[in-house]
Amino acid sequence: MRRVWLVAARDFRQIVATRGFWMLLLVVPVVIAGSLAATQFLGRPARGAAFVVVDPINTVAPTIDRRIAEAGRAADFVRAPTPADAPVDAGPEAFGAYIQGRLGISVGAPGNVRPLALALWVPKDFSYGERARVWVAPTADPDLVRIVRSSAGRAERLAALRGAGLAETAAERIESLGPQVIAAPTVAERRRGDLVLRSILPLALVYLLLVAAMTTGSMMLQGVIEERSNKLLEAVLACVRPEELMQGKLLGLGAVGLTILAVWVGCAAAAVHAAQGPAAGLVAAALQPLGQPWMAPALLFYFVSGYLIVSTVFLAIGSMSDTVQDAQAYLVPALMAIMAPVVVMMDAVIVDPDSPIVRAMTWIPPYAPFAMLARLGSGVPPLEAAGSGILMVGFIWLELFLLGRVFRASLLGAGQPSPLRALRRLMGRKREAT
C-alpha cells in the first residue's frame, strides 16, 4: 500500500503543478464571481429616475410616495419639483404638450440629476368628471408606472364613491375590496415540487461527477501515455507492480478530481451564502436532505463509485494507446456509451424517478452510480439500494482486476503496435475477408 500512496502522491503533485489544473480549478470560482458581480451591476439602477406630479390639492402625491417607500424603491424613484415654467394652471393639454418635450431629459432632483421618466397631472376636483393623466417615457421603469397609475386610480375611485354620497370610511373600505388570492397547488404538484427540490443536490452531483470524471480522466490518460512514450515505465515497474501503479494513479488523480470538486462546491456554497436572497433560500432547501444521517455517506459512496468506474475506462484506453491522437479515436465511442444513457436517464428522473428506465439502470453497474445518485432525492427502497451497491462494488473490483491485467500486458508493449491498433488492424482484415 505504501507504493500505491507514493505513486498517488507523485501523480497528484505533478497535476497540481500544471497551469491546466489551476485554470480548471479557478474557472468555476471566476465564473461565479463574475456572475455575482454582473448580477449586482445589472440589478442596480444606473441613475434611477425622476418623476413630476402636478397635484394642486395633494390628493395623490402622498400615496405615491408611501407606495414607493413600501416597495423599497425610494432610492430609485425620486419626485422632482415641477419645473418653474410649466403651465400647470393652463389645463392638461397645455401641460402635456410642455412635459412631453422634457421626458427622458435629465432634470434636477434631490440627490442628483436623473432622467424624467413620468409626469402625472391631477385635476383640482375629480367631481366634475375630470380625470388624472400620466405621460410616460418609453424607458420608464414599469414599477414606477404601476405605482403611479394605481395611486391615481385609487384617488379617482375614492372621489367617485364620495361623490355618490358614501362616507369617507365606507368609501375607503369599498375601494380596498378584492379577492384574496391563495396559491393552492394540487397534491401531485406539491409532491413533484418537493421531489424536484430534494433532487437538486443529487442531480447536481451527477453533473459534477460527469464533469470531474471526464476532466481528470483525460489528465490521467495523458499521464499514462506520457509515461509510455517517455520509456520510464520499465524502471517504475521494477519497483511497483502494475496493479499498484494503476491503483496509485486512480488514487492520485481521483484526489485531483475530488479537490477540484471540493473547491467548486465550496465556492458555490460561499457565493450563495454571500448572495443571500432567493437563491440562498433555494439552496438551503435543496441541502435539506443532508439532514438525514445516511444521505451524505450515500452521496459520497455513489460519487466515488461513479468516479472510479469512468476513470478506469480512461486509464485502460491510456494504457493501450501510444499517442493522445490514438486514444482520442477510441475515447469518443467510449464516452458516448457512458454519457448518452446517463443524459436520457436524467430526463427520465425529473419526470418520474421510478420510471422503468431509471430502475433498470440502477442494476446496470456502469450506470448504477448515476442512477442511484439521481434517485436519492426521491427515496430508494433499502433492499434495492443495498443490492445495487453490492453489484457496483463487485463490478468495480472486476474492472480493477481486468485493468491490472491490461496494464501488465500493455505497458511494456511500448514501441510495438498498441493493442488498440492491433485490434483495429484485425478488424480491418476481417472486413477485407468478408
Binding site: 507504493r3 507523485r10 505533478q14 520509456k231 520510464l232 520499465e234 524502471a235 511500448a414
Partner: protein
C-alpha cells in the same frame, strides 16, 4: 551463494521462443556479463529477474527468493530504454525512486544528494529533468538505479548512448559498486566493455546459452595466435599445426604466423624451442579476444558492433 539463478527457464511470446531452457547462476560479488547479439534474450532475461515478465516455465531465484517487488530495496535497475518524469527536478526524481525502493523520505533525499555530487550533477539538482541534455539524463537515470545502494545491480545495455567520457565514468561506478560488495549484472553487445569489467559472463544466442564461465575461459575457447621470428620454419615442432611466413627473410630471420594444434599450449612450444636449440629472436602470444570468441560462437547471427 548465487544471487541470481535461472533453471531451465523458457519464455515464449506466442509462437516465438525468446528464452529456451536457460540455466546459469551468478555468484555473489563481482561483475557478471550478459552478452549476446540484439534479440538474443538479454533484456527478456533481466525483465524476468525483476518480475516484470513471468517465465513460461522454469525457475528463477533472485537473492534467494522468487522474483518480486519485495526485493526492490536490494536491487538497482537501469533499463535499456531510458526515460524520466520530465517535470520533476533531478533531486526529486532520484529521491522518488529511492522512496519506491523503501527508503525513508530523509534517507532518499540524502542518497540523492550524495549521488548528484558523485555524478557531477550539482548544478542541475533543482532543475526539471526536461531541461537536461541526453547525457545528463542518463546520469540521472543511473542515479535512480544506485540510490538504494543495491546488493544486486542490473544494468541493461548501460553504455548505450554514452560518450567516451561518461562510458569511463560508468565503468568506474560499476567497479566501485562491485568493490563495495554489490553484484553487478550488465548486458551488452559491446565486447570491449565486458572484457574490461566482467569476472564471469554468459553468452546468449537465440535465447540459448552458448557459453557460461569466466572471461579467461571464454578466451581459451579459441586457440591463441602465435607470432615468432626464427631462422628455421617452425612447422615441424611439436604442437604446431601450421606455420606461414609473414614476410621475406631479413638477415636470415623470418617472421612466422603459427597455428597451434587444439589443446597445445604456447608455453610448451617455447620450452621445446629452448630445449632443442631452436633459435628465436621474437616469440609473441596473442590470446583470442572476447569479440573473436563471440563471432566464433554466434557466427552469422551476430549483429554485434565491435
Amino acid at each position: 551463494m548465487a544471487v541470481l539463478t535461472f533453471e531451465a527457464v523458457v519464455k515464449r511470446f506466442g509462437d516465438f521462443t525468446a528464452i529456451d531452457q536457460l540455466s546459469f547462476g551468478v555468484p555473489e560479488g563481482g561483475v557478471f556479463g550478459f552478452l549476446g547479439a540484439n534479440g538474443a534474450g538479454k533484456t527478456t532475461s533481466l525483465r524476468m529477474a525483476l518480475d516484470i515478465l513471468r517465465p513460461t516455465s522454469g525457475r528463477i531465484e533472485v537473492l534467494g527468493r522468487a522474483p518480486g517487488r519485495d526485493q526492490a530495496p536490494s536491487i538497482g535497475f537501469l533499463p535499456e530504454e531510458r526515460g524520466l518524469y520530465r517535470q520533476m527536478t533531478v533531486t526529486g526524481v532520484i529521491a522518488y525512486f529511492g522512496r519506491l525502493k523503501g527508503l525513508s523520505a530523509a534517507a532518499a533525499r540524502r542518497a540523492a544528494e550524495a549521488l548528484i555530487e558523485r555524478l557531477d550533477l550539482g548544478a542541475w539538482a533543482r532543475r526539471p529533468v526536461a531541461g537536461l541534455s541526453k547525457g545528463m539524463s542518463q546520469k540521472v537515470q543511473l542515479a535512480t538505479a544506485l540510490v538504494n545502494t543495491p546488493r544486486l545491480l542490473l544494468l541493461d545495455e548501460p553504455f548505450s548512448g554514452l560518450d567516451p567520457v561518461n562510458q569511463a565514468l560508468l565503468e568506474d561506478i560499476i567497479r566501485e559498486a562491485a568493490r563495495d560488495g554489490a553484484t553487478v549484472v550488465f548486458s551488452t553487445h559491446v565486447m570491449q566493455h565486458a572484457e574490461r569489467l566482467c569476472d564471469r559472463l554468459i553468452l546468449l544466442s537465440g535465447g540459448r546459452s552458448v557459453f557460461h564461465g569466466t572471461v579467461s575461459e571464454a578466451r581459451s575457447l579459441l586457440p591463441p595466435r602465435l607470432r615468432l621470428t626464427a631462422r628455421e620454419a617452425p612447422g615441424r615442432l611439436a604442437g604446431v599445426a601450421h606455420a606461414a611466413p609473414m614476410s621475406a627473410a631479413v638477415d636470415g630471420w623470418t617472421d612466422y604466423e603459427v597455428a597451434l594444434r587444439p589443446g597445445a599450449d604456447p608455453g610448451d612450444l617455447l620450452e621445446t624451442c629452448t630445449a632443442n636449440g631452436f633459435l628465436l629472436r621474437e616469440f609473441q602470444v596473442e590470446r583470442a579476444s572476447l569479440h573473436e570468441v563471440f563471432l566464433h560462437l554466434v557466427g552469422g547471427q551476430s549483429e554485434a558492433s565491435a
